[in-house]
Symmetry: C3
Subunit: 159 residues, 3 copies
Amino acid sequence: MEPKEKLSIVCFSGDFDRAVAVFTLATGAAATNREVTIFFTFWGLNIIKKRPGHRWTGTGILARFFNFLMGGRNNLPLSRLNFGGISPKLMTGMMKAKNVATLDVLFEAAKELGVGFVACEMAMHILELKREDLIDEVTEVIGVSTFLDRSRDAKILFI
Amino acid sequence: MEPKEKLSIVCFSGDFDRAVAVFTLATGAAATNREVTIFFTFWGLNIIKKRPGHRWTGTGILARFFNFLMGGRNNLPLSRLNFGGISPKLMTGMMKAKNVATLDVLFEAAKELGVGFVACEMAMHILELKREDLIDEVTEVIGVSTFLDRSRDAKILFI
Amino acid sequence: MEPKEKLSIVCFSGDFDRAVAVFTLATGAAATNREVTIFFTFWGLNIIKKRPGHRWTGTGILARFFNFLMGGRNNLPLSRLNFGGISPKLMTGMMKAKNVATLDVLFEAAKELGVGFVACEMAMHILELKREDLIDEVTEVIGVSTFLDRSRDAKILFI
């Protein structure tokens, strides 16, 4: 039996549109029998915060401030033409109208399909995020070298 | 005979500077005997719209609005220091002055060199773009899984 | 002996956060015995300018203007929530407070670890940057095709 093809995605961005790209690629790959891992780092950590809205997280004042401003999965901005956060909502409406999976649907599908969620240790340190601030599906908090070791046989995309 | 090296580019961005990067990599790779495919998705679809300016495209009001605002190949914004669209024009002037291929030249070269143009089915659905809204050189409208299948032996870049 | 794993990074972005990602990946990979090359292009060239602040570089008025506005390593903006350049400084403070390597530390570590620095010929032409405008650690100025040839056995990330 041939080994499964592997896809690793570094999810650096916390933009709504790029998050849709990450989860579309991840679910598309997993649904066709590939082993997929998403390494969430920096702005990407916002996508896997347990509390999906604007919340004060962290202990230091700056980390709390940045975490509040960045918010979570329900507040991801569009990378262009965001119009103060209206556009991601409009776009979600357009996706529903066209029977295209929304980000929430893709997110749940990724979990169902066994896509691996891992979080970047260093970025969590900087933003003072603790393991319990992230969704339960995150199986590991790892460093860059470990991620590269795991992705030895994988294609890696940086998004 | 060794099989040709392959390069697949996910062209997600519709920024002028990133489009230049996409087409520079694509033509550079194709000119040195590599097989190159560009998968245009989301903002990247603007680059391959038949009508390169701001136009009302799509049927729903929101899709029409977004398509108008995004425009096409002649309106791509610079990702930084865009200054209301002046910078891409200035930069094109700098490229000409330095005898560096402009985006239009790179775009034509990519076609000449046989770079494959494919478009993302899902993104077209969301933005209500039809096959006939895109340039004739687009050979296929495919989904993410098909793209990944085709890119099995390729390096993939997400831009 | 197995050949070393290779990682090539196209550093297109000149954003502070993406530069941190580039150098974290580069040093993490090099520290675990991988051969790493960073190909600096477009905005990424700002990171390896010899003079790290806002300076008039180039001969043409437009190139001088763009180079002044973009600045160098000390002026890289955050890709979101930049607040006029305050955020990169705040974030550097947060990194120090958390004993996480700052961009300057990562930059020096990359040099120590033998990460290869190469610069994109075409982007230098457009921005009128000369070899002597870049830091001494840049070993070569090459084109895209040469970069792809060198990266034949490497994973390539576009950041």
